[in-house]
Amino acid sequence: MIGSVAEPEPEARAGSLLRRIVWHWCHDPKRELWFAWWMMVVFYNLYGLLFFVVARVQPPPDPGWDVPTVVQWFTDHHLGVLSGFAIIFLVTGFIVPTNALLAYSMRRMSVSRAFAYSYLIIYSLAAVPGMLLTCIALTVGSIRPDRDPALIHWLYDFAFMAFDGTMGVFLIGSLVWMAAVLLDENRVFPKWFGYLNLCNALTEVVVAPAWIFKRGAFAWDGEIAWWINMVVFVIYTIVFISLLRRMIEREDFGTGPLPNLPTDDADAEARDPSGSMAMAR
């Protein structure tokens, strides 16, 4: 049976911000879910800030540069790469609750647990080629400027090819999530999100030519291999973070279909049982 989400305790909504946080920390049955969700929000914000603003390694530089230009690039980005990736190494652990929440969403579905477990394993491993290898290679290049320039050039290629050329893992992860959403009968996510997963998966394929091309639309900094993909990835990320928030709000810790959130009108009527709202309408 589809019920409605229980109203939070009055203490949850009253008092100062600190008081409310303490209440949620001590009494909210969803505190672990909210903790994971906030870790996800913090991680993705830091990820964007550190890669794009602090380290300035995204958008990616030109894959066709010669050795002196690449060495100069490492010199110019020395401080940003070291400080940005130092923080990235610190917050990499935030991926754990993030992946746990994504797997939880699949555990809440009516589908086999195999979906959640395979997604969890795929995305836990995906952080290594998709992020950490890039950070390590660029940090090594920045911290050892006295090394042979040919080696520095090799690290440059290695870092960006690891970042852009290993999207196959994410492709499989997106397809697993898509299948779970489309097969689910508990209405954890809308079906269109399943199809959006398919769109995202197909854009992961498009990055593969970055292994071959050093210039043009298919290179690792190209309009198709990077720019269009990044737009899709940002939209996809914003959508799934929003949907996960909604899932937590709707969560009733049952096993059947997730209840809907009370609508504003129903909420108003619940607070105004005399029917004056209905009269006003």
């Binding site: 009516s110 299948a179 689910d184 009968e185 079906k191 959006l196 398919l198 769109c199 030519p209 043009g216």
Partner: protein, 208 residues
């Protein structure tokens, strides 16, 4: 791909909508799951991005693109287009037959759609082989990079289309299922593949 629970009657996951009901709410009626239309919209935006990049690159090297285009066989491209348009026609007949309750005919048309899709796949692979034999590979020049990219990403969509058609055939095969909404959702996906191919064909083969 698409489960019956997201469609039709919430009790049995089956939506056997009579034709009269369609006409009653014809103004507000959207064929298939509205969710699939969100996919169509998103894919259209995505491919528009690819096409715009192609057009910009083409304006930068018009001679190279024209010279390379001449290496493609317009007859194969036209054949591909006709085959895919025919598959869309059989898919439309499948939906129409299902709406009228003529499920054997709907199944036949779904299988015909698969057959035409398969002919397209074989024809596309043989065209790729022919171009590679002529010495035009993925990295030969910018035009051929786009040619292989656009036709391959479309090819991938078509492969997924076979899974979608499998769901349609599965729905039609038993009276316990037959969700009209899922059949129409599958048709929407298939027509999208066709629609994208027509644009790809125009850009790669026809536009001079």
């Amino acid at each position: 791909m698409m489960n019956a629970a997201g469609a039709g009657s919430p009790q049995h996951g089956v939506d056997v909508r009579p034709v009269s009901k369609h006409s009653e709410k014809s103004e507000a009626y959207v064929p298939g799951q509205p969710d699939m239309w969100a996919f169509v919209l998103f894919e259209s935006f995505l491919f528009t991005g690819y096409f715009l990049v192609y057009m910009v690159c083409r304006t930068q090297s018009p001679e190279l693109f024209l010279r390379s285009q001449a290496e493609l066989d317009l007859r194969i491209g036209t054949f591909n287009t006709l085959v895919l348009l025919t598959s869309s026609w059989t898919m439309a007949r499948c939906v129409k037959a299902a709406r009228e309750g003529s499920f054997p005919s709907a199944s036949t048309n779904a299988f015909l759609t698969m057959l035409f899709g398969f002919v397209f796949l074989v024809s596309k692979v043989s065209e790729w082989a022919q171009e590679i034999r002529k010495g035009f590979g993925f990295s030969s020049n910018e035009f051929f990079s786009f040619y292989y990219f656009l036709t391959a990403i479309h090819f991938l969509h078509l492969l997924i289309g076979f899974v979608v058609l499998g769901v349609v055939v599965h729905q039609l095969s038993s009276p316990a299922r037959r969700s009209q909404e899922l059949i129409e959702t599958g048709a929407t996906y298939w027509h999208t593949i066709d629609f994208l191919w027509v644009i790809i064909f125009s850009l790669l083969y026809v536009m001079r």
